[in-house]
């Protein structure tokens, strides 16, 4: 039902041949199909986020790319060569694990140098590169500390350095910020983004936090029940969600059920021009697209609604209003901070802000 059509749902990656091609990859565990035929291209140098609820398959997809699981169907290609036939230690892919997985019996230096040591890199080279990596994540003064003595944020930096020092073609990050508290999280988000820009390595980031995804990504791939719901840049996915699920998962929205006939959409008592095929339709309207319109006269291409305010939640810079428009229609409206409101009021929104979405 909400299956992603191959090309129309995906904003194409930036110029050039993709670094990683996921082709029809599926994964089942016993009777459970966790991934149901995923196809995705990841461009070199981009920051792509796999976004989804728990159980959506995002971590499984990550592990398939890292090599800790094998796909039950489909193929993985990287840089023109088959990836899924390689064992993890032979892939030019590195992972930052959710719990960091730092080696407790090695200090920070040795942890970071690990990837170089197992490939028998000359000692002289190791030393310099470790210093550089530690400097990049600002952990130089902790070089001889044991992981158990570090805070969560510090461990995370070490995990990053340990992965990046190997200059992988692709860096996988498995919800690396989920174990941090809110403030630290925001700070690390900024650092992560800057780091990615600096080193230019392709990042594949997994999270369930849509705000995080919006803040960090060049593109977001929304996964739902093992299927790609939509793949697009944050702005695109917010302004033009393809499905009801996407509209509700990313940001907040109002879903209006109605019908389109002859270029006109009808939802209850509301009508507005809407191109597109006839038939039952579902529309998504963002709360901030609905404006307070008391006193304004009717305007072309603006849809007027009248309703009574059931609830008002003050949010500092804005108010979130719950508006009862009759016939069981409840709209959520976000307006700039106004002061207490009650009773009946007029609202309006642009026809262009009513995005037609698939789904139920």
């Amino acid at each position: 039902m909400s299956e992603a059509a191959p090309s129309s749902q995906q904003a194409a990656p930036a110029a050039g041949a993709p670094l990683l091609k996921v082709q029809g990859v599926a994964k089942r565990f016993g009777a459970r199909e966790v991934l149901k035929s995923i196809s995705l291209d990841i461009a070199a140098g981009e920051f792509l986020t796999l976004l989804g609820e728990s159980g959506s398959g995002k971590t499984t997809l990550l592990r398939l790319i890292a090599g800790f699981e094998q796909p039950t169907a489909g193929e993985l290609w990287m840089g023109g060569e088959r990836l899924d036939v390689l064992p993890p230690h032979k892939r030019r892919v590195n992972t930052v694990f959710q719990q960091y997985a730092l080696f407790p019996h090695l200090d920070v230096r040795d942890n970071v140098a690990y990837g170089l040591r197992v490939k028998n890199t000359p000692k002289s080279e190791i030393s310099g590169r470790v210093d550089e990596a530690l400097r990049m994540v600002k952990m130089t003064e902790y070089a001889v500390t044991r992981p158990s003595k570090l805070s969560g944020g510090q461990q995370q930096r070490v995990a990053l350095a340990r992965a990046l020092i190997n200059r992988p073609q692709l860096l996988l990050l498995d919800e690396p910020l989920s174990a941090l508290d809110a403030n630290l999280r925001k700070e690390m988000q900024g650092e992560l983004k800057a780091l990615q820009r600096e080193v230019g390595i392709t990042f594949l980031f997994v999270t369930h936090d849509q705000e995080e995804a919006m803040a960090l990504s060049d593109r977001i791939a929304l996964l739902r029940d093992g299927v790609l719901e939509q793949v697009a840049s944050p702005r695109e996915i917010y302004a033009h969600p393809a499905t009801a699920y996407t509209a509700q998962f990313i940001g907040q929205t109002n879903l209006l059920r109605g019908e389109v006939r002859g270029g006109v959409a009808t939802c209850g008592a509301l009508r507005w021009p809407s191109p597109g095929p006839d038939g039952p339709a579902l529309f998504s309207i963002r709360p901030e697209a609905i404006l307070l319109a008391d006193g304004a006269g009717p305007t072309p291409n603006k849809v007027r609604v009248r309703g009574s305010i059931r609830q008002q939640i003050y949010g500092g810079s804005s108010e979130l209003l719950e508006v009862d428009c009759g016939n069981g229609q409840i709209l959520r409206v976000r307006i700039p901070a106004y002061g207490p409101l009650s009773g009946d009021h007029d609202f309006q929104f642009s026809a262009a802000d009513a995005i037609r979405v698939r789904g139920q």
């Binding site: 890292a66 993890p88 690990y114 990837g115």
Partner: protein, 281 residues
């Protein structure tokens, strides 16, 4: 949360018991090692002669060395058998892991004597092993060396202690978080490299625990030599046994016991130290 009275009531009985039946006996044994025997009676004369005897008497010294050799062999072989078994169970056994684990534990519950006796019946000249070899015409005459030799003692004790060594190693291996193994592979280490650099070091506390166990318990074993060892395999504990029996020299016997006790405590101390260094949350 707990009143001091509660804590006192709870701690007192075991403390008293341990003080009376562990600390005091060890202290007595310690004291005896510095005393002497005259005309079959223990005399409270403080001296170091017993320890001197232990080192200077060639018979005792040789037995001590032999015991050390046997204990070291048992430790080595139990590790060689126990570690790969634990590793296999932990990393390769999959869903049957729990069942296999129980199967390995079963022999631990079977009497030491029963298992020692089993070896006795197998290794003798008219035993099962010889019978088997003759049946297959691999040998014509029974091989006498299997039984009543240090070989038999080492074999029997290895058999007894392999499951003992297996246990702490398996526990340590199970405690290694699997993401660490994945991280090592992710960073480019081959399976062999991952084992040497990550798995082995992190299993070291368990390995040392098992090794200490096997070594110390073999060191103090006096039953195996009597069952399957014969006169050529007398171990230090047999000497102690006779000193407390027919030879009737308690102080000398106590001094040897004190040595065994000291070795045990030192090894425990050492392994605890190493464990603190390697340990992690």
């Amino acid at each position: 949360m707990y009143s001091r009275l509660y804590k006192a009531i709870v701690s007192a009985p075991p403390l008293l018991w341990v003080g009376l039946f562990l600390l005091l006996p060890y202290a007595l044994m310690f004291a005896h090692s510095f005393w002497a025997v005259r005309d079959g009676v223990v005399v409270h004369e403080w001296n170091m002669r017993n320890f001197h005897t232990l080192i200077s008497n060639p018979v005792y010294f040789e037995v001590l060395l032999r015991t050390m050799r046997i204990a070291a062999s048992v430790m080595l072989f139990s590790l060689l058998l126990g570690y790969p078994l634990a590793y296999y169970l932990s990393f390769h056994a999959g869903p049957r892991k729990e069942l296999l684990y129980q199967l390995v534990i079963v022999p631990l519950w079977v009497s030491y004597l029963v298992r020692g006796y089993a070896w006795k019946t197998i290794l003798g000249s008219t035993g099962v092993l010889n019978g088997f070899l003759q049946y297959l015409h691999i040998t014509r005459d029974p091989v006498g060396y299997f039984l009543y030799s240090p070989f038999a003692v080492v074999l029997m004790l290895t058999h007894i202690y392999t499951p003992f060594v297996f246990l702490p190693i398996y526990a340590a291996l199970e405690h290694i978080p699997r993401p660490l193994v994945e991280a090592s592979q992710d960073l480019g280490a081959s399976p062999r490299s991952t084992f040497l650099r990550v798995i082995l070091p992190l299993s070291m506390p368990g390995l040392l625990a098992g090794a200490t166990f096997a070594f110390v318990l073999s060191l103090g074993d006096f039953l195996a030599p009597l069952l399957v060892g014969g006169p050529s395999s007398t171990m230090i504990a047999n000497i102690v046994q006779s000193l407390f029996g027919a030879a009737n020299d308690w102080p000398l016997g106590a001094s040897i016991s004190v040595c065994i006790l000291s070795i045990t405590v030192s090894l425990l101390f050492l392994t605890e130290r190493v464990e603190k260094r390697w340990s992690f949350k």
